[in-house]
Amino acid sequence: MAVFGIWLGALLTLCIYSFLYRDNPLYKFAEHVYVGISAGYFVAAEVHNVLLPNLIAPLRSDFGHRFYLLVPGLLGVMVFFAFSRRLNWLLRYPLSFVVGMGAGLTVTAMLSADVMAQVQATALPLNSVNNVLLAGGVLATLVYFFFSAEHKGAVGGVAAAGVWYLMIAFGAAFGYTVMARISLLIGRMQFLLGDWLHLLR
């Protein structure tokens, strides 16, 4: 069975890699298998990991104290009104709840992690080239993200410096991430040449 799994994985990997040449029936086959199986797996995983332990099991074991779980359960059921032409509008309630909750939670999280933490980390003494570059970069990049002021004159100059900072940071991130992708490729090659073809010892 293990050998069958290795052969299946190797052949599907080659089918996906055939995309590098052009779109072809082998890639289409692997793509549809991948999408279909993963979508089905997701449904089963959601039922077993979310629906049963968080809703069904608590309601069955202690309905008296957990009756409030009917509210999210009802919101979940309302999503299925997407299939009804007449009652389609009921879908908007669970969507509004999820969107509002997401936005509300994100406001404080972003303010804390992205704004306050950045401000605190940038308030450094200007006693080294590193600190001067850091403070200058943060301030110039912030000016670039001013949308109500045209990037002309002094504002334009500072914003241009901000763009330079951004591009240098992107270049560094690009190189770093490409290295990580190469390691993924190496992993796949080890599977094909080692586990499958036994060419690697």
Binding site: I16, V35, L111, S112, A123, P125, N127, V143, F145, F174
Partner: protein
Amino acid sequence: MFNPRNIARWLAVLAACANLSQAAKVIPPPPAEPAVPAPVSRFTAADVPNDGGGAVRLSWAPSPFDSAALRFAAPDDPARAVKAYRLFRSMGRSGEYSQLIEVGPGTTEFPDEGLANGTAYHYRIQAVGAAGGLSPVLEASAVPRASWFNGERTNMVAALVLVAGILLLFIVRARSGVAMSIRKIAGLAAVDEAIGRATEMGRPILYLPSGGLSAVSDIQTLASLVILGRVAAKTAEYETKLLVPCSDPLVMALAREIVKASCMEAARPDAFRPENIRYLTNEQFAFTAGVDGMMLRERPAANFFIGTFYAEALILAETGYATGAIQIAGTAMITQLPFFVAACDYTLIGEEIYAASAYLSKEPVLLGSIKGQDWAKAAAIAVIVAGIALETLALRFPQLHAFAAQWLLPK
């Protein structure tokens, strides 16, 4: 020579000796008590502040015979040195105490978690000596409670009130008719160009409101869906096919609602095609493979990748580039932005995707919120500059560092 009286005396002496040795064997001397260490002091139990409840913090000043303590006093007998502290807990003051934990020397506090809110818990502490001697017991009690307000986040509330106040002020001003403008954003200015190109070529437009891992509650996905609404209105107006593959069922449901509303707004309800807004899968790379296939088979003339993207960003952008489509991308994911910059024609960087809705709609209320955000950024710049100045001056006047830490940049 032989005197019977002497024999009797000797026998009596021998008998007395035998009795004495027998008595020594039967009644051993009483054992010595193990040396007792000095007890801890200032033992307190208190509800943990600024938490969701269910926790009590126990703290104490160490025994003077604790070798890890700052004020260590070497005992006259090494056996009296503290080996550990034993903590006991009971639900009632006169109830049975059970051992909670034994902690090593040098420990001066312990958080007891997983408790019931509103219930009184009673604690005891006892120092254990090197020879096993136990110090006198100290007692303390506490009732764990949930806090309504986290006092440590007061600075966050102040910042939130400040930012929200600035935003509301400018929204009110915009509503009252004060003219507000927004600078040109290259990526958004190209939206109309991309839609026009697809219309001229008679090919569809592909719009991804997120990558393969995001959810509908993700703020970038929400920003992307707002832009989708503007793109959908234009495509409905031009009768251009709009493909929206989704990796989340709720994103798909919301995208359908938005596109439907946009088609109505454009007076083209017949342009709404729910089957073109598809759910593929939640699996990141299966979703990527599916979208790649769509790009190669449907041959869209314009691709929009706006929202949260992870490792799929480069794969998608490269495939779109290979098909010759005009590509507009936008994300706040710093690690993926370089790939979009390299492989797409236009890239919305970070906050530009949040400004897009105001830019595309030109609605006064949204423009007012953009203006408000700019002022909030100006406030952040002012705080940073003040912080830098104080920290630099603190090199010469160290007391300024404490001032800045307390009043300007509290953690």
